[in-house]
């Protein structure tokens, strides 16, 4: 899979990539963006299979990025990896097409549970837990 990781913290982008490797869900190539604006620019010239996105970021946050993708009709699997995971945010994320919301800090098992269903084809928003 081509996976885009969007997070303003380079440390967190590295942790996410390391966790994906440890989850042993296959070979992936990675794209990195520091915020929603960078992600949109990158999306103009690349087609990731999955976007793993932080919520709270400067310039354009995660939910606004998701709304823009939704408005543009861009079909790409999208999940949040965020330190904020209250039920209202989760509801909002799912309403706009996010497939899952992983809370920081996370474990390898959390990633496996959320991403394993994505490896076997299309799924409905919010379905993996």
């Amino acid at each position: 899979m081509r996976i885009m990781i969007v997070d303003d913290s380079k440390a967190m982008r590295m942790i996410v990539m390391r966790t994906l490797r440890q989850a042993a869900l296959g070979e992936h190539t990675y794209l990195e963006a520091e915020n929603g604006v960078q992600a949109l620019a990158l999306l103009e010239k690349s087609e990731p299979d999955l976007i793993l996105c932080d919520w709270n970021m400067p310039e354009l946050n995660g939910i606004e990025l998701l709304k823009r993708l939704e408005a543009a009709g861009r079909k790409v699997k999208f999940g949040f990896v965020t330190s904020e995971a209250d039920p209202e945010m989760k509801k909002l994320a799912i309403a706009h097409g996010a497939l899952f919301l992983i809370s920081k800090p996370f474990t390898v098992e959390t990633f496996q549970a959320a991403l394993q269903p994505l490896m076997s084809g299309p799924i409905a928003p919010g379905s993996p837990r």
Binding site: S9, A11, M12, T82, S83, E84
Partner: protein, 156 residues
Amino acid sequence: MRTGTVENSISGITQNVFAMLLGIRMARSDGFAFAAGRPTTTGVVTISGGWCGAITVTVDGRTGRRIAAHMFGTSLERATDGEVNDAIGEVANMIGGNFKSRLAQPALLSLPTVAHGTGCTVSVPGSREVGRFGFESAGNRAIVTVVDHDWKRGGR
């Protein structure tokens, strides 16, 4: 907000963040102070909503480098000041974000701000300290402080 409630929340969240993310089992410990004349790094996030306040996470130089080295997959010697700042900002973001999720919603979490230096103090004007909680493990030391900001007390 009661100090005991805050202490339980902050203790659980902080120990969870250090254990899950960094593999460090931190125990509550208020019996230490950071050495004078040695640099510390402090990450700060603020929360606005029904409860307004801030969470600060302060670590000494060694702990900051250890956290950065772990997160960036490098050695203590190779971890740069920029990487320490990024890592501590993210730790503050995680502790603050998880704390925010336990508060009445809606609430807004700020982006983290990081201060690094010797004799460096961070203050939130108009705020009151709710609790100051120390954590320690094998030479790693961190202090998490919670302040609240009551507009009725005249804070800005």
